[in-house]
């Protein structure tokens, strides 16, 4: 699953960073839930990354580095600070209902895009971001671990819990709507 890295030494910051613009914006918009804030966040990310580019170690993962800057900037922002409450609560397993092992493919099939979007937006930030990094950005566990600065084991457990939480939200929403 390894994605070949470009040799960084020869490439300029512009060449490396601009292709990531669209996905960084999408990620920022999902984190902030606000257009103006997302724009500020992306701009701040690029400014910080450009300043710190000399400290970027060639041969390491540039994409993960950019996402990490964006994420840290978000977490130190006003909206981000509020969301850290959810991160602190991670160790609390009782946060989520117990796992149900019933296959729910029918449920998911019937969940339309808008419902999934709503459920994603309703998730706590740590769950929302890990799902976006894994499913939308198609990052490997290793890359996610680098981006969020957590061990691989935590990536796996958090991802699994995020998926459960999303499933539960979809079930609750659909249950309310269709009286399931």
């Amino acid at each position: 699953m390894k994605v070949p890295e470009e040799p960084v030494s020869a490439a300029t910051f512009e060449e490396l960073a601009m292709p990531l613009f669209d996905q960084l914006y999408n990620f920022a918009r999902w984190l902030t839930q606000d257009t103006a804030e997302a724009e500020d966040l992306v701009q701040e990310t690029y400014a910080k990354a450009l300043r710190g580019f000399s400290s970027f170690q060639a041969g390491t993962n540039f994409r993960a580095w950019m996402y990490r800057i964006l994420r840290n900037s978000f977490l130190s922002s006003r909206t981000g600070l509020k969301s850290t409450v959810a991160i602190d609560g991670e160790a609390d397993e009782s946060l989520l209902p117990a796992e149900t092992t019933t296959p729910e493919s029918i449920l998911i099939q019937h969940a339309d895009r808008e419902q999934v979007r709503q459920a994603l937006a309703d998730l706590p930030v740590p769950f929302r971001e890990i799902l976006l990094l894994c499913e939308v950005e198609e990052m490997s566990y290793q890359e996610i671990a680098e981006t969020i600065a957590i061990p691989m084991g935590t990536v796996m457990s958090r991802l699994s819990r995020a998926r459960k939480a999303l499933r539960n939200l979809l079930r609750t929403n659909q249950g309310g709507r269709h009286g399931l």
Binding site: P4, M18, I108, C134, E135, S140
Partner: protein
């Protein structure tokens, strides 16, 4: 109960994070177990729906332009360019004379290092539980598998009538450069073929020709912008025969 050991790996399986051997074992289990297969189906559907739902927001072109402008690489100053024109020839003469002395010694050392590394890659692949990621004797399967995995394409020879069999291939790295690693079999011996882009630097800039390191014979050459290495614990003649087939296929 037997499913419990699989259950914890379902996420890793749908995320493509299991290694080849584990993924194969999981695949075999899924064909036999409808409950786990249904779980996998549900997870895949969930992944897809999050993927589509998550690709939602598009930035304004104004923001893009603003940021592109702020990170644009600045053109070099003229005075610097003039200085370069004057100084470069003088410095070059100095450097070349010093470098030539160094070069001969360094070149041998470099060759040894690259060939040792290739021999290591060859042995490591054969010692691995899954020596190849694409398992096929058919060059028409193996060649396209590399598309999108490495930044170049190459041709593989027709082996009918020869003593060689293609076992498969994998992506490999040498000096941070991605390349193709193909494994051929000849009379119970495995021979590795490595292909990298010839970028005028290591590992590509080495002198071509046969080499013998410890128990391995190596042949290497450049062709159509690509650098080929053939490595194996077989006689130099066998290495040459496979090299000829590869050369003729290009």
């Amino acid at each position: 109960m037997a499913c419990e050991q699989w259950h914890s790996k379902l996420d890793a399986y749908v995320d493509g994070e299991l290694d080849l051997a584990e993924a194969n074992t999981m695949g075999a289990h899924l064909r036999a177990c409808s409950a786990c297969a249904a779980e996998v189906l549900e997870r895949v559907q969930m992944k897809r729906s999050v993927e589509t739902a998550g690709k939602r927001y598009v930035a304004s072109s104004e923001l893009r332009n603003r940021i592109a402008k702020s990170v644009a690489t600045k053109p070099r100053r003229k005075s610097a360019a003039l200085w370069t024109i004057l100084a470069v020839p003088a410095i070059s003469v100095l450097i070349v004379s010093v470098a030539v002395n160094f070069y001969v010694g360094r070149e041998n050392e470099r060759r040894q290092r690259v060939f040792s590394e290739l021999a290591d890659l060859h042995v490591a692949a054969l010692a691995s539980a899954a020596p190849v990621d694409v398992v096929s004797t058919d060059r028409h399967t193996v060649k396209p598998w590399f598309q999108g995995r490495i930044p170049f394409g190459f041709n593989l020879p027709e082996l009918q009538g020869s003593e060689f069999t293609l076992l498969g291939g994998r992506v490999t790295y040498l000096a941070q450069t991605p390349g193709a690693h193909l494994i051929y079999q000849v009379r119970k011996h495995e021979v590795s073929v490595f292909i990298f882009q010839d970028r005028g630097e290591e590992p590509a800039s080495l002198a071509s020709g046969p080499v013998h390191i410890v128990s391995f014979n190596v042949e290497n050459w450049t062709q159509n912008g690509l650098r080929y290495f053939v490595v194996g614990d077989v006689s130099a003649d066998v290495i040459q025969a496979l090299s000829k087939l590869l050369r003729d296929a290009q």
